[in-house]
C-alpha cells in the first residue's frame, strides 16, 4: 500500500459509510486507485449492512421480564408518592436505633 493510499484509507472508509464523495484532498488519488475504489465499495456495503441491523433484534432471555419485575418488588410495594417520606423515616429510625444501642453499650461498660 502506498503512503497516499494509507493516508486516504480512513477518509475513504468514512465517506463511504456516510454516502459522501471522498474528501477533495484524496479525491484524485481515489479516482485512480483500484484499492481505494474497492475499499469504498466494501465500506458502502458494510454501511448498508450496519443500517439494516437496526431492525434485526435478538430475542431477550426468556426470564428477563421476570428478573426485572421481581427486582422491582421492593419498589412496587411502596406507592411512589410515599417513597421519600418512607425513606426519610427509615433513615431516622435507623439512626435512633443506632443511638440507643450505643447508649446501652456505653452504660454496660
Amino acid at each position: 500500500m502506498s503512503v497516499t493510499c494509507e493516508l486516504a484509507a480512513p477518509f475513504v472508509a468514512n465517506s463511504a459509510i456516510d454516502g459522501r464523495e471522498v474528501t477533495p484532498l484524496f479525491r484524485s488519488h481515489a479516482s485512480t486507485c483500484l484499492r481505494c475504489q474497492a475499499r469504498h465499495v466494501a465500506m458502502t456495503k458494510a454501511a448498508r449492512e450496519l443500517a439494516a441491523m437496526e431492525s434485526q433484534t435478538n430475542a431477550a432471555p426468556a426470564d428477563l421480564e421476570w428478573r426485572v419485575m421481581s427486582s422491582l418488588e421492593g419498589d412496587l410495594a411502596i406507592p411512589r408518592s410515599w417513597r421519600t417520606p418512607v425513606a426519610v423515616t427509615a433513615a431516622l429510625v435507623s439512626m435512633a436505633a443506632a443511638l440507643v444501642i450505643w447508649r446501652l453499650r456505653l452504660k454496660a461498660s
Binding site: 472508509a13 466494501a42 458494510a46 450496519l50 437496526e54
Partner: protein, 192 residues
Amino acid sequence: MGNQGDSSQVEAGRERELITRAQQGDRAAFAALVRQHQDEVYTLARRLVGDPHLASDVAQEALIRAWRALPKFRGDSRLSTWLYRVTVNTAWTHRERARRHRSASLDEYTQVPAPYGADHPEVAGEILELRGRLRAALDNLPESQRRVVVMKDIYGWSHADIAESMGITVTAAKVRLHRARARLARDLEESA
C-alpha cells in the same frame, strides 16, 4: 396504507396509556411495556457490550432504571428512543465489567434474519459472510469506539446526541467515529 396508519395510532395510544399507568405505579402496565421493548433493549445492550450474559444484566438494569425514571419521562421522544438512551447509559456504567468479559463469539450471532437478496443464493451468501465479518470487526473495536459506531451507523443518532450521552464534545465524538470506522474498515479488509 390508511389501515396501517390507524393501527399504528392505536398502538401509540395504547402505549401512551400504559406509560401513564406505569408512571402512576401500575405494575402490570410496566410489565406490558417491558414485554414490548425487552428485545430492542437487549439487542442494543448486546451490541454495546458484546457478551450475551453481560448484555442480559445490562438490559435488566436498564429496565429497572427506566421504571425508576419513568415519572420523569414526558413523552417528548418515543419510549423506545428514551429506553435506548437509558440502555446506552447503563452499558456505559458496566464498561469496566465488560472489559473483563470476552466478547461474544461469532457462533452466538447465528440467529439473525435472512439477509436482503435471500432469494439469490450467491448474493445472500456474500452478504452473510460480510455480516459475520462485520459483527466480528464490531466486537473487536474498543468499547468506546464500538459505542459510537453502534449509535451512529446502526441507530442513526446525531453526533450531538452521541456526544451528550458520552459526556464529550461533538468534535470529540466525530473524531472517535472517524477513528472507529477507519479501524472497522481495516479489520474488515484483513478478515476478507
